[in-house]
């Protein structure tokens, strides 16, 4: 069984993101970049499937500028077999990414596609679902457990009310939640081996996709700073403040 995993290059989760002074975008100058944490969980799940003998090949794909090859190499160091970069310029919307991934799915014919449920930059939570619709594949989102059984996969999903398990017929799409697994760290020998693994580059045209923008970003501004809290002396004062200052009662 072939598994396709999508990874995205995003600002490292440890970095405190700042808006540019002119408000045009997030400031990415000299900022540490990394694999989106949810995507890393997707890579780990695929590698575990391979180690368990369920998957025969793990292909990792990223959509972005040349720099995203760094994140593909990281995924290769973590155990993926081969990489694909779809080269695009600037920001691409979830719908475009989904269309490009559909092109890769048609080329590669994977039985299982694993994606992060969302990326920590845009927080869109759309790409996996859109790919499912475009590729006409079953989907199990927000997975906290994935079990492949013959030509089906059981996905335990984290939903508001608790856990829901769905059984999907392969080929299928899974998006990962935080608790699916804990990603490993790569060893130095594996970092070196990753440099020799195959990495193909496609253009959107190779996949028959036209990159279009449907959204315009108007402004990026930091969230308002929270005011410090105060201590109230009595219940009366609290009620008074809730009524007259906060105006919530």
């Amino acid at each position: 069984m072939k598994v396709l995993v999508a990874v995205k290059r995003v600002v490292d989760y440890n970095v405190k993101v700042r808006a540019k002074a002119d408000g045009s975008d997030v400031d990415l100058n000299n900022v540490k970049m990394a694999i989106n944490p949810f995507c890393e969980i997707a890579v780990e799940e695929a590698v575990r499937l391979k180690e368990a003998g369920v998957a025969s090949e793990v292909v990792v794909v990223s959509v972005g500028e040349k720099s995203c090859q760094e994140q593909i190499r990281t995924a290769l160091a973590l155990g993926a077999d081969r990489g694909i970069q779809v080269e695009t310029e600037g920001a691409v919307e979830p719908l475009v990414v989904a269309k490009l991934l559909k092109g890769v799915v048609e080329k590669e014919q994977p039985q299982l596609v694993i994606l992060g449920k969302q990326s920590i930059d845009g927080d869109n939570n759309q790409t996996g679902q859109m790919l499912g619709a475009l590729a006409n594949m079953a989907q199990g989102t927000f997975a906290s457990e994935v079990k492949v059984d013959g030509d089906a996969v059981s996905v335990t999903r984290e939903v508001d009310g608790g856990l829901q398990t769905v059984k999907l017929k392969l080929p299928a799409i899974v998006t990962t939640d935080l608790r699916l697994n804990e990603p490993r760290y790569a060893s130095l020998p594996n970092i070196m081996k990753a440099k020799k693994k195959q990495l193909d580059v496609f253009s959107p045209a190779d996949l028959g996709v036209e990159v279009k923008s449907h959204l315009t970003q108007l402004r990026v501004e930091p969230p308002a700073e929270r005011q410090a809290g105060i201590k109230v002396a009595s219940v009366d004062e609290l009620v008074d403040k809730l009524k007259n200052e906060a105006k919530v009662i």
Partner: protein, 390 residues
């Protein structure tokens, strides 16, 4: 821009994506496998035996050693080693690095001067984290004065009979072998040999040295040799040529210590800046007081100088032309920087810095072992002066 462990590192044009990937994955290993337990291990006075195979698997133990003996050299260079030293220092528990990486001083004599059979018997097991090797030079009566050692190895057929003792031996309690300096000839440097002594040999015994100022997580021992019979084939290099083996070993040790000390100084800076940005006195942040701002700037100034000097020395090693005098002075530069930064960070942290369980307090207690071990500041200056032909 905030001033922290990473942002306080000057740019190094030699670093590539591969180096960054190594730093990232190694940090992840450390943050998962070491950081959460570091303080407890230090208080307990040892690190778990399981850590060695884990460190071997991630590539930490084998880095820089020949692939034929289980090491990792392919695609690597000296900058990978610098990164490893920095990241281990970031833990802020020096005893963990001292103990886990002690093969860094014990194994090179075997790799560089030992017989093929010796290398095969020792190196793969050590680099896999299954067995342990230490370096035995210092004696109760001779430390810095290496040529003055008095532990003897007297030839008897195809064995040496070893008598004497070694002290302050890092990893000595756990070691399966000790690369040991012994006297096989007359007085002075020309009578010193290096001998690989297995610790299961009859007549060998050891006692732990537990009441240390710092490096609690590192085991330290006194070793005793009472008519220990060691096969002649365990000789490392030629008989009576051990002084050269010892001296060539020092460059690597001093570079590693200097890199570690610079990074420890950066830990002090990071902790001091974080506290100064938060703590309020007299109606403003500590960091807003000029006297504190100057302390921080002065720490960074000394750290910058040490980093630049480190890079120069690493470059000279990479080009195959290391200058032992300059490396000796680098070690002094680094220990003086560390001493200054540990002091100033403690002053900024105040009472909270005096409490056990924070990195600055521990580093403060570990300054001296860095300033003395691997060659004291005084010996380093003397060596440099002689090197420069003054």
């Amino acid at each position: 821009m905030s001033l922290n462990f990473d942002s306080a590192r000057l740019p190094n044009p030699h670093l590539t994506n591969d180096h960054n990937a190594w730093r990232e994955q190694l940090r992840r290993f450390i943050d998962t496998e070491i950081m959460p337990y570091a303080d407890d291990w230090d208080e307990a006075g040892h690190i778990p035996i399981e850590l060695w195979p884990k460190a071997a698997a991630v590539g930490l133990l084998g880095l820089g050693y020949p692939e034929a003996y289980g090491g990792i050299t392919e695609g690597t260079d000296i900058w990978f080693g610098w990164i490893a030293a920095e990241e281990m220092a970031r833990i802020g528990v020096g005893g963990i690095n001292a103990s886990l990486m002690v093969h860094g001083i014990g194994l090179p004599p075997v790799i560089n001067w030992g017989s093929e059979a010796m290398k095969q018997a020792v190196a793969p097991a050590v680099l896999a984290g299954e067995k342990h090797i230490s370096l035995g030079i210092t004696e109760p009566g001779a430390g810095s004065d290496v040529a003055g050692i008095s532990t003897t190895a007297v030839r008897d057929g195809d064995h040496y009979v070893v008598n004497g003792s070694k002290t302050f031996i890092t990893g000595g309690m756990r070691a399966n072998w000790v690369s040991t300096a012994v006297r096989t000839g007359g007085e002075g440097a020309g009578g010193v040999s290096m001998l690989l002594i297995p610790t299961d040999a009859g007549g060998f015994s050891r006692t732990p040295l537990t009441r240390k100022q710092g490096w609690w997580a590192s085991d330290t021992a006194t070793l005793y040799f009472d008519n220990v019979r060691v096969p002649v084939k365990n000789l490392i290099g030629e008989e009576n040529r051990g002084f050269r083996v010892i001296m060539t070993n020092f460059n690597g040790e001093r570079m590693g210590m200097a890199a570690s000390m610079e990074a420890q100084a950066r830990v002090c800076l990071e902790e001091a800046v974080a506290w100064a940005s938060e703590r309020k006195t007299f109606g403003q942040r500590l960091a807003d007081h000029q006297v504190i701002r100057h302390k921080i700037a002065q720490m960074k100034q000394k750290i910058n100088a040490t980093q630049a000097y480190l890079r120069i020395c690493y470059e000279s090693i990479a080009s195959g032309q290391p200058n032992p005098g300059d490396i000796a002075m680098l070690k002094v530069q680094a220990s003086e920087t560390l001493e200054f930064c540990a002091r100033e960070a403690m002053q900024i942290l105040g009472g909270i810095g005096y409490m056990r369980g924070n990195r600055v307090e521990r580093i403060y207690r570990e300054v001296r072992v860095n300033a003395i071990g691997g060659g004291s500041e005084e010996i380093m200056r003397d060596l440099a002066a002689r090197q420069y032909g003054i």
